[in-house]
Symmetry: none
Subunit: 159 residues, 2 copies
């Protein structure tokens, strides 16, 4: 029952158009009879249909065309201060989306360990640490581990 409603919601435009078409076809049929019975000029009838469907097409296009998205970047300044007693900034940590393992790797990075050394310390392969470190860089939106360390320290994600 739930899915049926969703389906209707998703295809609302299509359904609307189909129903409209059906109504129009009935209208056409009715008009046709009238015109034929009254022996009016066929051109008027055709012209009417043409105008009607042109309007319908315009309406459809305007309804369905997706708007262009114009992105405006606004810079927002955030002031942080580092205190001697380190308390982890949970909010900033969550914003990065780092997993616990990735945070662990980041911390060891900040201590100056190489990937190989981190791998040895955590008893995993070098490949694993490379994957983690790549994820860390990606999630922190930086290109080098030194940048990641700098940013993490400024955000109070690591001591």
């Amino acid at each position: 029952m739930h899915t049926v409603l969703k389906w209707f919601a998703r295809h609302r435009s299509t359904i609307l158009y189909t129903v409209l078409l059906a109504i129009l076809l009935f209208l056409i049929r009715w008009l046709e009879l009238r015109f034929i019975v009254l022996n009016y000029a066929l051109e008027f009838y055709i012209g009417g249909v043409a105008i009607l469907f042109t309007a319908l097409g315009i309406w459809l296009a305007l309804k369905l065309s997706r708007p262009k998205i114009n992105t405006v970047v606004v810079e927002k300044e955030i002031y942080l201060h580092r205190s001697p007693e380190f308390t982890i900034n949970e909010k900033e940590l969550e914003k990065t989306g780092l997993s616990s393992r990735e945070l662990e790797v980041l911390q060891l990075m900040a201590e100056g360990l190489s990937n190989q050394e981190i791998a040895a310390k955590l008893f995993v392969s070098l490949s694993t640490i490379k994957t983690h470190s790549s994820k860390v860089l990606e999630k922190m939106d930086v290109r080098r581990r030194t940048q990641a360390i700098d940013k993490a320290k400024k955000l109070n994600i690591i001591p």
Copy 2:
């Protein structure tokens, strides 16, 4: 003569549509005769016209309507820092034996810059920065720049 051309340019779409309509009316007239003569079903003819003009309407709307623009505001966060009480530890700095240029390079390293970026910032070649960075690592008795940064921060040589 000049203004006439401009007028044409400005109303190009309208003119195009008008001409198209005229052509279509001729087509309709011709089709009409054919269909009537051949006694085809009128519904097919009407349907064709409807589809044609719906398409025309859609095309027209897309051509002539100015695009909808949705402005999306994206906030970009910039982190600024107040580190009120950083005082460089001169004694530790002297112990390392770092020259002023080497310290400069070390500071830029700590900000996450690559050697190439540091070279660009200081208007010297990559080779020079490599030499400096090697000297820094040697004088600080470490093997990686991340270690040098960590150590320098702990010794209060850099903020």
